[in-house]
């Protein structure tokens, strides 16, 4: 069997999880106390709208039928209507995807950009002052609340130094990049603490490995051995670590979007909770869950690409 054939059958294995996600999100909205129609449409709904919702969700039918209606609606991209914005939920979410995606991907890249050099220095200069400082950062960094870190970065870089805007998303691509640096850095700092800690440990292990000794016996320089052998081998567990932290990464982005007033899905979710815009809460939660599943799938792909021994 080909190593990448899991790309074809893995989605089938995901069916139970996706099914569970849909049930859970269905149960969430079903548990809302009060009249569902009033909650879904607000108090000033017209009788036609009430009738339409009743038919769409089969609200008079038994629960199981209602769930099947819900599934069918999901299938046709019908996630209901936002009370606050008076528009369908799906396009509302679609408008908010870009900043969140930007934030998550940018944070991962920055995490690597911070974590790989720090871990390398710590592993190569083990026991040095730099190593101790980096280890201190990795222990303390775990406990940094993202929202507070964001504000501290704003105070330092925006208020005192005037380097970056305090909040917002910007218009042009360059402008957006300028706006996104601090939010990405906020998420990345905390995540890179975890990553540096793990990467340092695996680098130390790989530096002492037999194949590194064999590479030394080939007369290669330490820096060559580190770049060509130690780094690729120690990055493999890092992919897995990032995959485990995808949920955490998305959670962090929700908070950070609020700190920096970024018009992403997280900010949409928080506002929807305040305004009891339940269909939006349900929609965003569902999309975030599917995104987590998808990102984990991508991490599997990356692992297979990076490690020839892995078969899924």
């Amino acid at each position: 069997m080909h190593r990448y054939s899991f790309v074809l059958y893995r989605p089938l294995q995901l069916v139970p999880v996706l099914f569970g996600i849909s049930v859970l999100s269905f149960v969430l909205v079903k548990s809302i106390p009060g009249d569902p129609i009033r909650l879904l449409l607000g108090t000033k709904a017209t009788p036609e709208a009430v009738a339409r919702i009743r038919a769409l969700y089969g609200l008079d039918e038994p629960l199981i039928t209602q769930y099947l209606y819900y599934l069918r609606n999901l299938g046709i991209g019908e996630m209901g209507q936002s009370i606050l914005y008076k528009v369908p939920v799906l396009p509302l979410i679609a408008d908010r995807v870009a900043p969140t995606l930007f934030l998550v991907l940018g944070s991962v890249l920055l995490t690597l950009a911070i974590g790989v050099p720090l871990a390398s220095i710590a592993a190569l200069k083990r026991g040095s002052a730099a190593d101790h400082a980096i280890r201190g950062f990795t222990t303390a960094g775990l406990g940094f609340p993202a929202f507070w870190l964001g504000i501290m970065l704003i105070i330092l870089f925006s208020v005192k130094l005037g380097l970056f805007p305090v909040a917002g998303y910007g218009e042009t691509v360059l402008d957006k990049l300028h706006h996104m640096i601090l939010p990405c850095l906020t998420v990345a700092l905390a995540l890179s603490a975890v990553m540096t800690r793990n990467l340092r440990a695996s680098m130390i292990q790989e530096l002492a490995s037999d194949y590194a000794t064999a590479a030394r016996a080939k007369g290669l320089s330490e820096s060559w051995i580190f770049r060509r052998h130690v780094l690729p081998n120690s990055l493999i567990p890092t992919i897995n670590l990032l995959a485990i932290n995808v949920g955490w990464l998305i959670g962090g982005s929700v908070v950070v979007e609020t700190v920096f007033s970024l018009p992403g899905m997280g900010q949409l979710l928080v506002r929807a909770i305040f305004t009891r815009d339940y269909m939006v809460v349900q929609g965003v939660t569902l999309v975030f869950a599917c995104a987590t599943v998808a990102l984990n799938f991508i991490a599997d792909l990356l692992t297979v690409a990076a490690d020839p021994r892995v078969k899924l």
């Binding site: 999880v17 929202f147 998305i250 959670g251 929700v254 965003v284 939660t285």
Partner: protein
């Protein structure tokens, strides 16, 4: 095994052993000291806090750190130091209660799943998979959306979401212990399954959960203060660190101290629990990677 590999291993072990031993003591002692310190501050807050944390004192608003107010005052003239001290009561309570329920639920369900096996195990583990598919904070927020904002909603949401980590941890260990010799021996003596599970298996796999719960406190305090920061957890005027940071965010250009000190308090408390977790992990011989 070649003699060089042996000698190198010994060398490394010696180094690591010396280091590890030193770090266990340091981690455990420092962690315990920090956590104990916070517990004292929380207990004694009404006695040792120099000012009232809630009542307004507008003439003294927005004063920078000084002799009278070491951490400055906020926009209502409240002493930030006093509020940080009182905040310790709430945040420490969040950390402890927020871990207790997931710990109990997760340990129970996980051990039942591991011991019962078959469809019980399959059903519970599928549920775990589904809960884990949701980003932790997002699912918490969705549940809080239904229950309404507040500390109680936070605890309920945490109990509903947080148990999965413990369940997975305990299940894996029960699966190993289930087939061990001493359990076979207990079974051959005719003990019932419940007695075997709770008297023989659980005590042997609880150490991992306890260590994990210490690092979980960090996660819980962080998410609790995050949710309060978002306005969905503890409500003002209660002094809670996340709430204080949210309130201070409007004044970052003029009064950095309102946001800085509560945040440092979170970092410091989280650091204490992280050290405690590391120290316990080494004491129990469970090196966490």
């Amino acid at each position: 095994m070649s003699e060089l590999a042996l000698s190198r291993g010994n060398w490394l072990e010696r180094r690591l052993g010396a280091l590890g031993l030193g770090r266990t003591n340091l981690n455990l002692c420092l962690g315990a000291a920090i956590v104990l310190g916070w517990a004292l501050v929380a207990l004694l807050a009404p006695l040792i806090a120099p000012y009232d944390p809630i009542s307004h004192n507008l003439p003294e608003k927005l004063q920078g750190p000084g002799l009278l107010h070491p951490f400055g005052t906020d926009n209502f003239g409240r002493d930030v130091l006093s509020r940080v001290m009182h905040g310790a009561r709430i945040d420490l309570q969040m950390g402890i209660i927020g871990v207790l329920f997931p710990f109990m639920i997760g340990t129970t369900l996980g051990s039942i799943a591991g011991y019962a096996g078959r469809w019980v195990d399959i059903a519970l583990m599928r549920l775990v998979d589904v809960v884990l598919a949701f980003p932790f904070l997002v699912l918490m927020l969705a549940i809080i959306a239904i229950l309404g904002p507040g500390l109680v909603s936070f605890y309920i949401a945490l109990a509903l979401v947080g148990w999965v980590s413990y369940a997975r941890l305990v299940r894996a260990q029960v699966l190993v212990l289930k087939t061990s010799d001493f359990v076979t021996a207990a079974r051959s003596l005719g003990f019932g399954p419940l007695r075997i599970l709770f008297r023989h298996i659980l005590p042997n796999c609880i150490a991992g959960s306890i260590v994990f719960s210490m690092s979980d406190v960090v996660l819980v305090v962080l998410s609790g203060s995050s949710i309060s920061y978002l306005g969905l957890g503890v409500q003002p005027p209660t002094a809670e660190w996340g709430v204080m940071i949210a309130e201070g965010q409007n004044f970052i250009t003029t009064a950095w101290w309102i946001t800085t000190f509560p945040g440092l308090a979170i970092v410091f408390m989280a650091f204490g629990f992280s050290m405690l977790a590391d120290g316990l992990a080494e004491r129990f011989g469970l090196r966490q990677r």
